[in-house]
């Protein structure tokens, strides 16, 4: 596609038919993918996994929301039914608009899903008339009314002085557009209910709720109450309250902060028109905990995140947005990246398929396996002959790989129950040495051998001081966890644990023993304890006491306790090693935390600065490369100007700046430094300078100042 014409003019190029074909998701995935042979299978695997994760999380979300949604539905039903009572009290009472204040927490991105399922549920079980509005589409009262009407009536609504109505004119005869007022809604409602009542009352709906539904309420959901203009909201409520006798309206306020916002936004004269009831949703941290529990800490999904990626995702959640949806998006990103960049991710799927896929690996893939650091470590541990075999014989390698994959699965099967056991034991200890939440413990375990951790030691020490009842109840919980596991190792561990629990029980029956003779020796430190001391001293004293007691003679309970803890310790040591120690862990674990961070937590300023400091990074031009971090004088003008401005103080003299610029640029042009014209400012350089400076101003590095006429002020300082 080119024009051979030399004349100036406009040329029209029609897009060719071929180019029109839009790329499918798969094509995007395969494009630029490493190891293109199996990219298709990898894409499918990735897709399957994501679908599964998505449906699972959606189910989870629904489950978590059921409680609050149920109570909300109850509320709506109750409201619509009390309206029809006809006794003295309800006649006397001012008819308030029933309002549910739904406190959802500050994680605004997650609210959409909640509201969606809420309005679906409402439509299914209470009323067909549900409209939800957002603050950004309702700047003025008429827009709010318009949106509400549109959503309820399903037709166009005219607001008379709207400009964009011109397009609607043509379709006007078809859709008879209606006036933007609540009386329209009122007429529509009476017509609608009458119609449905006379035709087939409750044919579609189930019979028990039929009575309520003679007057199905109209529910209006305000998704983000805080963002609404208070004035608009007040007026809207005033209008609605004029129609409440004829129109069974109902509001749901979605509140992100605290319910007292309502009182801040609405004066008493308006809020007295409402009958506000409060509904509190699950906190987002709890939500995250369940999501992690069901999504991450399970053998269900072969795809795993390594410690650093987990850390990035969790810290984005805790530090920045509290949004579970974004967390799941992060997992999705990691999933895509993993399957995209790691050719060996073909093996990251269910056991059967993985074993099949191993057999189908080509020579190139096997070479890749040999290159894996974890595999290299494995090879080094083998006998020399075996090493030879592994590195040369492909079929043998495949056999070994099958075994290794099985081992990896087994590791996961042991890891999670053990993690949960350890968490139940340590989560109630004072000061939470291993974290309150299981995700913290998981992070520690992913990083390094947990038993070498200082916190682990102190947790164990605390456990060794635990009272009998507590310990037994905790151990029982552990036994419950182990019961769910099906692997052999865990079953045998369960048997051991149960035997130990039985022994603890026996202690109870044989408790009639004479009191331990060590009584006297213990009393003296106990006396010490009565003195005032801080927590640290207390702990120390207690430890000493423990020590002395042990050195004397251990009671049978203490012996048993130590035995139990030793057992737990051995369990931890054998199953909670970090994934990096496992051979072939790279297949399942995604480890590029930098990529995730770059994508999810972008730093625009840093990248601009990187571009200005080292243009080579973006332009990929070898001439721009320089070793000592200085900008080569062949760099784009803006980079030179930027570099020069870094050397200045708060106020920059424009003329000096221009001179310096001209010198640098002349050097780049290869002019003779001794010649007269060197460093002279000519028109072109002047123009280039002006442009660069205005670009810099646009990027927000400098601004004009009134303090001195020919100066500009610098805005940024320091490294960032």
């Amino acid at each position: 596609m080119s024009t051979s014409s030399v004349s100036k003019g406009c040329f029209v190029f029609k897009p060719s038919a071929k180019k029109k074909k839009t790329l499918s998701l798969e094509d995007h995935f395969i494009h630029g993918c490493e190891g293109a042979d199996e990219s298709k299978t990898r894409f499918n695997q990735c897709q399957d996994l994501w679908d599964q994760i998505k449906t699972d999380t959606e189910l989870l979300q629904d489950e978590l929301n059921t409680k609050i949604l149920d109570s909300l539905l109850d509320f709506t039903r109750k409201c619509s039914s009390t309206r029809q009572h006809n006794d003295w009290a309800s006649h006397m009472r001012a008819s308030e608009i029933p309002t549910a204040a739904l406190v959802l927490g500050v994680n605004v991105p997650d609210h959409d899903m909640t509201f969606q399922s809420l309005s679906e549920l409402l439509r299914q079980s209470v009323t067909p008339h549900v409209a939800s509005v957002q603050a950004k589409e309702c700047g003025a009262l008429k827009h709010l009314i318009k949106r509400v009407l549109e959503r309820l009536l399903g037709t166009d609504v005219t607001v008379d002085d709207d400009e964009e109505e011109e397009t609607e004119q043509t379709s006007a005869p078809l859709h008879k557009s209606v006036h933007c007022s609540l009386s329209t809604l009122c007429d529509w409602y009476t017509m609608n209910t009458k119609k449905s009542y006379s035709l087939t009352p409750g044919k579609k709906r189930s019979s028990p709720v039929k009575d309520d539904l003679q007057q199905p309420p109209i529910v209006i959901i305000f998704k983000d109450l805080e963002a609404f203009n208070a004035r608009v909201l007040q007026d809207f409520i005033l209008i609605c309250s004029r129609y409440i006798e004829r129109l069974p309206l109902m509001f749901i306020f979605g509140i992100a902060t605290s319910p007292s916002t309502i009182q801040h936004m609405l004066p008493h004269s308006v809020s007295s028109l409402l009958c506000i009831e409060l509904f509190q949703s699950l906190s987002c941290t709890q939500h995250l905990a369940t999501v992690i529990d069901k999504l991450i800490l399970t053998t269900h999904f072969p795809f795993k995140l390594n410690g650093k990626v987990m850390q990035v995702l969790i810290s984005i959640f805790l530090y920045h947005d509290f949004s579970v949806r974004n967390f799941i998006k992060g997992v999705q990103l990691a999933l895509l990246e993993h399957f995209h960049s790691q050719p060996l991710s073909v093996l990251c799927c269910r056991k059967k398929e993985a074993l099949l896929n191993v057999m189908q690996l080509g020579h190139q893939d096997l070479e890749r396996i040999r290159q894996l650091p974890s595999f290299k470590r494995y090879v080094e541990k083998q006998e020399p002959q075996e090493q030879e075999h592994l590195l040369t014989d492909d079929t043998h390698l495949k056999e070994v790989c099958r075994r290794l994959i099985k081992d990896l699965r087994k590791y996961h099967k042991h890891y999670y129950p053990t993690l949960r056991c350890l968490h139940t034991l340590t989560s109630s200890l004072p000061r939470y040495p291993l974290g309150k939440q299981i995700r913290e413990l998981h992070l520690i375990c992913l990083e390094k051998n947990v038993w070498e951790n200082e916190e682990y030691q102190s947790a164990m020490k605390l456990l060794k001081m635990m009272a009998k009842d507590e310990l037994i109840s905790l151990l029982k919980k552990c036994a419950e966890i182990l019961q769910h596991s099906k692997s052999k190792n865990m079953k045998s561990a369960l048997l051991l644990l149960e035997a130990m629990l039985a022994k603890f029980k026996q202690l109870d029956t044989v408790v009639a023993e004479p009191p331990p003779p060590a009584e006297e020796s213990i009393t003296s430190p106990v006396k010490n304890l009565q003195k005032k001391m801080d927590l640290f001293q207390l702990q120390k004293a207690l430890l000493e006491m423990n020590e002395s007691r042990r050195s004397k003679k251990l009671s049978p309970f203490e012996v048993l306790r130590n035995e139990a803890l030793q057992f737990i310790d051995s369990l931890v040591q054998s199953h909670l090693s970090p994934p990096e120690s496992q051979t072939l862990y790279e297949v399942c674990y995604y480890s590029s935390s930098a990529t995730v961070r770059r994508h999810l937590n972008a730093a625009p300023r840093t990248s601009i600065q990187a571009a200005l400091n080292s243009p080579f990074y973006y332009l990929q031009n070898d001439r721009l490369k320089s070793e000592d971090g200085s900008v080569s004088n062949a760099a784009p003008d803006i980079c030179i100007v930027y570099k020069l401005h870094l050397e200045c103080g708060r106020l920059i003299n424009l003329f000096d700046w221009l001179e310096a610029f001209a010198t640098v640029v002349s050097a780049a042009e290869g002019n003779d430094p001794d010649s007269d014209s060197f460093g002279k400012v000519d028109d072109v350089k002047h123009a280039r300078f002006i442009r660069a400076v205005s670009e810099l101003e646009f990027l927000g590095f400098i601004k004009s100042t009134k303090q001195k006429t020919d100066h500009v002020a610098r805005i940024t300082w320091g490294g960032c």
Partner: protein, 445 residues
Amino acid sequence: MSALLQQPGYEEERLQTVSKKLPCREVQAGMLLSLMGQPHQYSYPSIFIYGHQSSGKSHVLNVLLKELELPHATVSFVECVSVALLFEQVLLSFFGCDAASLLPRSPSLSDFVRIYRQQSSQSPAKQTRYIVMEKAELLRDSDANLLPALLRLQELVEDNVTVILLSEIVWDRFRPNTGCFEPLLLHFPDYSKGELQHILAQDRNPSYSDEFYSAYINILLGVFYSVCRDLRELRHLAALNFSKFCEPLAEGKVKETDTHKLWRNIEPHLKKAMQTVYLREVSSLQWEQMQQMEEKENGAVRGLSAHTHVELPYYSKFLLIAAYLASFNPARTDKRFFVKHHGKIKKTNFLKKNEKTSNHLLGPKPFPLDRLLAIFYSVVDSRVAPTASIFSQISSLVTLQLLTQVSHGDQIDAPKYKCAVSMDFICAISRTVNFEIIKYLYDFL
């Protein structure tokens, strides 16, 4: 009180029912009637009625116009998102749908006048037509020519029409700069305690005697009269609490006449109602449920304002703290608080008398984004990269109304903010991140 309204031209019986329906408003109703004159007579072009909320303005007019079957159009101005709606409703109720549909899209005042004249020439008024405008104070925000035109609509359309404006504020606040036709002013005073008692006692519960109910109303007014004179609200409260009042009666503990015992029973209950259901801390439904529950469980339902705790992401908390500091500390003291080696700052210079202790009384001051971020980076204990999500957190704090943007939204160059949270709130927030905010506040130095 001369109970009967008298005005020639109306049926005697009708006037009687009207006066029955308007207890304690006979004077005003009589005044209105005499202003309106006989149905066929021309009335004064515009009447302005003002009085507090629920002093019976709309009620009196509605009853008069309905019972005497006078042609009228009642419009609440709050509903009129555009003037077209106002015109349409007026035409609709005077001349039927056909006339209303004659209005062009986005009609102007002259369109309205034109169509009105056209219609009224076809069906001239035999009786005075009334246009009642509720919430007339909103008229001031609409087009400048609307109010003056409405005031002399009679002249404009050359028809026997009277415009009645109802408002909660006085006429002086309405009068446009350019001057206008002065309407007749009519004031509706608040109901006195006796009048309230009289009105409320009228809607008694059919299963109880008159005296019993009026005793109840007496007790109710004794508690609520000092805080609330809104008839609607009082009636609502009366309905909500009546069942509790009757409780000892149903149990057979006291007789209907034993007012003192009944008072002892109900008074604490009403006091509690004043703190909860009257302020809409709990809903009326919840209040009724609470009454049915045992006393012990009553604590279970907490009011709206009891939930003040807000969970925020870690950096949002620090951003909010930084915003609070920026709002309540003078900018020149930042160096003292946030620079490690700030050198010597003279104490006398630093602590200016007039600035001291006054910052919290004066309320938050605006600050630029740069200052917020500078303070943020110095109070947060770890190194934070200036990522996009830090900036988006600022804007989400604005949407949550914890910060307010002072400068106009268009100005993206150097936005200014104010911190909109209270001292208690920020103290609670900083406690969760172990930050001693008091040490950093100039007022508490």
